[in-house]
């Protein structure tokens, strides 16, 4: 059995998780603490990937990621290579696809923080940025961890969006879920079974961890 697809899946999940936890935290801060016009529209837009069929999302991503699309053109101008059918391309697609899964647990954790703690921090001289790092983040660690784990397993299980944007290029975009599908199509059931056997316990363990973290967040440590 070729383990490259599994390695690619883990690599994709790792990159997506690291980038999303870092970028989703300030976005969540914006949603929870800052009042601005059109906030509910903005929030619905960020949540949209959660409810759209992956093929629909993948189709639109494909349109903007081709060298003629806005993001594809920008990427090519900066790096000199195309974005679709590359590993970088499926990372970008995963970021969009998993964004709501990063935001939701963080939002729950941020909303649980007493606003008076922030006011106290301001009176004690902290700027909003310093309060974000010294008060919000340390008190939302469970939410951040839950968010990271959810994004990780969600990305491991991604199929439709990756197929649309990345195709199935061995060593580049053929991740485990796609390799399993292709193995079944080619009647290589043993290969498919092996990969499934590895993915199921990984996902199960991560889910267990999320449940524990969420319980901690709700009932305290």
């Amino acid at each position: 059995m070729d383990i490259t697809p599994l390695y690619l899946s883990l690599k994709l999940a790792f990159y997506t998780t690291v980038i999303l936890v870092i970028t989703a935290a300030p976005l969540t801060y914006l949603l929870v603490y800052i009042r601005f016009a059109g906030k509910s529209f903005f929030e619905a837009l960020l949540t949209l990937p959660m409810v759209l069929p992956p093929t629909v999302l993948g189709f639109y991503l494909l349109l903007i990621m081709t060298p003629q699309g806005n993001i594809g053109r920008f990427w090519k101008a900066v790096t000199g290579s195309p974005l679709i059918f590359t590993f970088a391309g499926i990372v970008v697609a995963s970021l969009v696809y998993s964004l709501p899964f990063a935001i939701q647990p963080m939002k729950a954790a941020f909303e649980k923080i007493d606003r008076r703690l922030l006011e106290s921090a301001y009176v004690l001289g902290l700027s909003p940025l310093a309060a974000f790092f010294k008060v919000i983040i340390p008190n939302a660690l469970n939410g951040l961890a839950a968010s990271a784990i959810l994004v990780f397993i969600h990305t491991l299980g991604e199929f439709g969006v990756i197929l649309m944007v990345g195709g199935s290029i061995p060593g580049e975009t053929r991740v485990a879920s796609i390799a399993i599908y292709e193995a079944v199509e080619a009647l290589r059931y043993q290969d498919a079974a092996m990969m499934c056997l590895i993915l199921v316990p990984i996902s199960y363990l991560f889910l267990l961890a999320i449940n524990r973290l969420t319980r901690k967040q709700i009932y305290g440590s």
Binding site: R116, L117, Y122, V123, L124, G125, L126, G220
Partner: protein
């Protein structure tokens, strides 16, 4: 070091409209029923809320002037604020909470010892009692070496014995401080016990300044203020009656 306040703000049920000043080494108490606008004043002083109109001037430095569109953010006012309920940072130990914004970290041990919580320095806030948490909150506010100390019903969530102990400690503390201290409470006995000046508040207005020294010498005529009842509607009269009744019980 004087703090001069003259502010107006529209609140849901009435307009807040107050003017008063507090001098250094004085403890001024705003006393009144819940919902009289006391906490709003403290929040405006701390910079957590904005008045619709008015000025706040500390020792010649303008913190708020709505005409000149001046608003000094809370970070720059250097006030100490002890909140009504516990606002210690739950992820930090007692010592780290106090050191959080300390002007000089060297002050922390002496403050903790001064308020008898040195032995709790390595505990998190959820592992200490309510009274100990408020002691820690007072230390946290003082560690910033505040220019004004604001206390918003700091004892209201405590049991009677702890409340009395803390009142005594604050009474001792205020003699050592050379800054204006503004204390908010709905408890008139606390107001009379702590205050140099007591400002009774009803529905966003200060009814009249009571000089505690006179009152404690037994001048009920100073306190009853029958003329103040004029010009108030039935709600105001009810709140005023509550204040007067508590005062009579005290005397």
């Amino acid at each position: 070091m004087d703090l001069n306040i003259s502010i107006r703000k529209k609140l849901p049920h009435f307009d807040l409209d107050v003017s008063f000043s507090c001098r250094e080494s004085r403890l001024l108490v705003l006393v009144g029923p819940s919902g009289a606008g006391k906490t709003t004043i403290i929040r405006i002083l701390a910079g957590l809320d904005r008045p619709d109109e008015g000025r706040i001037i500390y020792n010649g430095e303008t913190w708020v002037d709505t005409d000149k569109k001046i608003f000094l953010p809370p970070q720059k006012r250097q006030v100490g604020y002890v909140f009504q309920e516990y606002t210690l940072f739950p992820h930090l130990t007692v010592a780290k909470n106090v050191a959080f914004a300390a002007d000089n970290k060297g002050d922390v041990p002496s403050l903790l010892k001064r308020f008898n919580i040195w032995h709790l320095k390595d505990r998190k806030p959820d592992k200490i009692s309510g009274g100990e948490r408020q002691r820690c909150a007072i230390c946290q506010a003082l560690a910033r070496r505040p220019r004004v100390l604001l206390m918003d019903e700091p004892f209201s969530a405590l049991d009677a014995v702890t409340r009395q102990n803390l009142r005594e400690e604050v009474q001792k503390l205020r003699r050592e401080l050379s800054i204006p201290v503004i204390h908010v409470t709905h408890d008139i006995s606390e107001a009379l016990y702590l205050g140099d000046d007591v400002l009774p508040m009803v529905r966003g207005r200060i009814v009249r300044k009571w000089m505690v020294q006179f009152m404690l010498k037994g001048r009920p005529s100073e306190a009853r203020l029958p003329e103040s009842m004029e010009g108030y509607d039935s709600d105001d009269r009810r709140d005023l009656s509550v204040l007067y009744d508590s005062l009579e019980v005290m005397q």
